[in-house]
Symmetry: C2
Subunit: 105 residues, 2 copies
C-alpha cells in the first residue's frame, strides 16, 4: 500500500485530479495503466487515493524513466482519453525526493 | 481542491499513511493541523485524499519553512498522538518540485 522505495535521491510524479461526470471506463483504464507502469524500466512504486480529489504518486529512478513512461504509446492514448472524457482538471508535478522518514507499528 | 502553486522550484511534503483502528479524534485534529499549516510562513498549498490509503501533499517555499512547521509545538504534539494512536504506518517524503504542467476544462 505504502510504496517500498530505495534510499533517496529518486523521483516522484504527483498527479492530482478532479474527475468529470463521465467515469465510464475510467477504473479499468486506471488499473491497466498502473499495471503497465509497473513493467517500465526505472519504476519504483505507486501510491493512490481518491475521495473528492484523486492523488496518485508514482516513484521513479530517474527523469529519463519518467520521460520514457510519458512517451509510452498506450499511456499517451490513455492521457488523451483522460483529457477528453474523464478529467475536468489535473496537475502533474515532477519532483526530486531528497529525504524520507517513516513509522511502522 | 487542486493547490494553486507558483512556478517551480518549490518543495512538497508527501505524507502517505495507513490508519489504525482507533480513529477517535483524528478528523478534528487533521482539520486543525491543515488550518494551522495554512498560517505558517512559506506555506503554498495542500492536497489530500483518503480511501484505504491516505495521501496528503503540502507545498512550501523552502526547506526552512518545512523544518519550522515540523518543529511547531502543536504539530509536534499532533504527530506524537498520530504515532501513538491514529496511524499504523506512515511515510514522509520531502521533495523538490522541478516541473509542473496541468489541464483544466
Amino acid at each position: 500500500m505504502i510504496a517500498k522505495t530505495p534510499q533517496p535521491p529518486y523521483y516522484a510524479v504527483i498527479f492530482t485530479s478532479i474527475q468529470s461526470q463521465d467515469t465510464d471506463g475510467y477504473a479499468t483504464m486506471a488499473a491497466k495503466m498502473i499495471n503497465l507502469a509497473q513493467q517500465q524500466d526505472g519504476f519504483l512504486g505507486v501510491e493512490s487515493a481518491r475521495d473528492e480529489l484523486g492523488i496518485t504518486v508514482s516513484y521513479w529512478e530517474s527523469l529519463e524513466a519518467i520521460k520514457n513512461w510519458k512517451l509510452h504509446i498506450e499511456h499517451t492514448e490513455a492521457r488523451n482519453k483522460g483529457r477528453a472524457r474523464w478529467y475536468s482538471q489535473f496537475t502533474v508535478r515532477i519532483c526530486k525526493v531528497e529525504r524520507v522518514y517513516g513509522f511502522e507499528k
